[in-house]
Symmetry: C2
Subunit: 267 residues, 2 copies
C-alpha cells in the first residue's frame, strides 16, 4: 500500500473517487486532494428528510448544506458529477434507532429508493484557507484530532431533531484572530465564521483540557481560543431522534468532491 | 384614513401587525416600519413542503429563507414572536392548481393543520441598505414598481418545482457599482449580491424597456444596469407545479417582521 499512499496524495478527486469505489482505499481522507472540498454524509429515509432539512436550514453554521440529493438519487451532480455516494466514501457507519450497528465500505445493500442524502461542508475547507493565510492550526501541527466540545448553546429544534451545538476549538495568536474571523466568514458553506472567541465558560465549556471528543491541544500563554460550529452537531441531533435507519460517513472518512474550497467562498 | 396613513409610518412592527390583524390596514406595506425587514409569504400543504424547501435551498438568491414554520404552526417565532401569519398581512392570494382564485384579507378559513409556511426575504431590505449608502434607487425616485424580467437562466430544479430565474434591474451610476455589490453581498438573507452586471442579453433579456412585470425606468447614459434575483422566481415555480393549494401574500402586501434589516446582514 505504501506506493499507493504516495500516489494518492497527487490524484484528482475523480481518480480518488474511482480508487475508493474499487475498494482500493479505506483509510481517512485528510490530506487527500488538497484544495478540494470534502463533505460529511447523512442518509435518511424520506419520512425524516423534511425535518432534517429544516434542522439544517435553521442551524446553518453546524449544518452547512453543500448538496441535498432527492429521494433515491445517489449521484451528487453539483458536487461530483458521475460519482456514487453509495460506494465512493472509504467507510460508512450504519445506525438503527440511534444505535451504532456496524461500519462498512459500501452501502449498496442498505440503499433503498426512499433514501434522501445530505452532503454537508466540513472544517477541512476553512482550515485549508486559514493555513493558506499563514494561520497555524494547532491540532494539525500536533498530529491530533481537533478538540470538540459540547457547548451550552442549544440548536434550534426542527421536528424531532434537537440537541446542543458542538464546537471545535483552535488556539489562534492574538494578532491573527481578526484575520481568522474574516477568512472563515467567506466560507459559510463550510461552517463559516466562528461562533465565539475567548472565554470557554461563556458558551458553557468548563475545561478546554478535557474535550468531549478529539484530543486536547496546547494553548500558548497569549493565544486566544476560537470556536467554530462542528459537524458532530447534526450527528448528535440524529442519534437523539433515533430514526429507524441513518447512514453516515465514518469519522474522518469523507466524500471528496470535485469542487475547490475557494469556489465555495460566498464572496 | 388619512390620519391613519400619517400615523402608521411611525408605528412599530408589532403595532402594525396588530392594526392589520384588526382589519384596519389593507394597503401595500412599502415604506412602513422603515428599517425593519418585510417578508414574502408562501403557504403549501405538507406534501409539497420538502420539495419547495429543497428548491429554496438550491436557489438561495431568488428564494432566501428567513423562516420556515413547521406543519400547522402560524406563529413566526424567529421573525415576530406573537404574530399570526394567517391574519397579520394586509392581503393574501389564494391559488388552486396553479390558477388564481381570489384575494382575501384573512386566511383563517383556508388554514389547515397540514399547512407549512415559508417567509422569504425581500428586496426592500437591501434597497434600504443601498439608500442608506447614498445609492439612488430609480424606481423609487420615479414612484414606480421595480422592473422585473424573466431571464434565460434556469433555476435548479427540485421535485416538481422549476422555472426561470426572474430578476429585478436597478440602474446604478458607474462609480457606485462596486459599492452596490459590496453592500448587497452582506444581505444574503434578502437576495444578496447581484446575479449580473451590465449587458442584459448576456442573461437572456432582450429589451430593458419592456419588463415582463413592473414598470420600465429611465436608465441614464452612463448608468449600468445591475440585476438582482427576484422573489417572483419562486412564485413562477409554484404556479408551474400547480399544487392543489398555495397561499401567498398579495404583491406589495408583505409581512412586517420585528427584525431590523441590519440584523439580517451575514457579516
Amino acid at each position: 500500500m505504501e506506493t499507493e499512499i504516495k500516489d494518492i496524495s497527487r490524484l484528482t478527486p475523480k481518480e480518488i473517487q474511482a480508487l475508493i469505489r474499487k475498494g482500493k482505499w479505506d483509510k481517512p481522507t485528510a490530506g487527500l486532494a488538497l484544495g478540494y472540498a470534502q463533505a460529511n454524509l447523512v442518509i435518511l429515509p424520506e419520512r425524516y428528510a423534511f425535518d432534517f432539512l429544516l434542522f439544517c436550514q435553521r442551524n446553518p453554521k453546524p449544518c452547512p448544506l453543500l448538496e441535498v440529493l432527492e429521494k433515491g438519487v445517489f449521484e451528487p451532480k453539483e458536487m461530483a458529477t458521475g460519482a456514487d455516494i453509495r460506494t465512493d466514501l472509504p467507510r460508512y457507519r450504519i445506525y438503527k434507532k440511534g444505535s451504532y450497528v456496524k461500519e462498512v465500505e459500501d452501502i449498496s445493500e442498505y440503499w433503498a429508493s426512499d433514501m434522501v442524502s445530505f452532503l454537508l461542508g466540513c472544517s477541512y475547507s476553512f482550515e485549508f484557507a486559514l493555513m493558506e493565510a499563514g494561520i497555524p492550526i494547532r491540532h494539525i501541527e500536533e498530529g491530533k484530532t481537533v478538540p470538540m466540545y459540547i457547548s451550552g448553546i442549544p440548536c434550534k429544534k426542527a421536528g424531532g431533531f434537537e440537541g446542543p451545538l458542538v464546537v471545535t476549538m483552535r488556539p489562534i495568536p492574538p494578532d491573527k484572530v481578526v484575520r481568522a474571523v474574516q477568512i472563515t466568514t467567506r466560507f459559510s458553506a463550510v461552517h463559516g465564521a466562528p461562533v465565539h472567541v475567548g472565554d470557554p465558560l461563556k458558551i458553557g465549556i468548563r475545561d478546554l483540557g478535557k474535550p468531549d471528543l478529539g484530543d486536547p491541544v496546547r494553548i500558548g500563554p497569549d493565544e486566544v481560543p476560537v470556536y467554530w460550529a462542528c459537524g458532530v452537531t447534526p450527528q448528535m441531533a440524529l442519534m437523539k431522534n433515533k430514526p429507524d435507519l441513518v447512514i453516515t460517513h465514518s469519522p474522518g472518512h469523507l466524500f471528496i468532491t470535485d469542487i475547490r474550497n475557494e469556489d465555495l467562498a460566498t464572496f
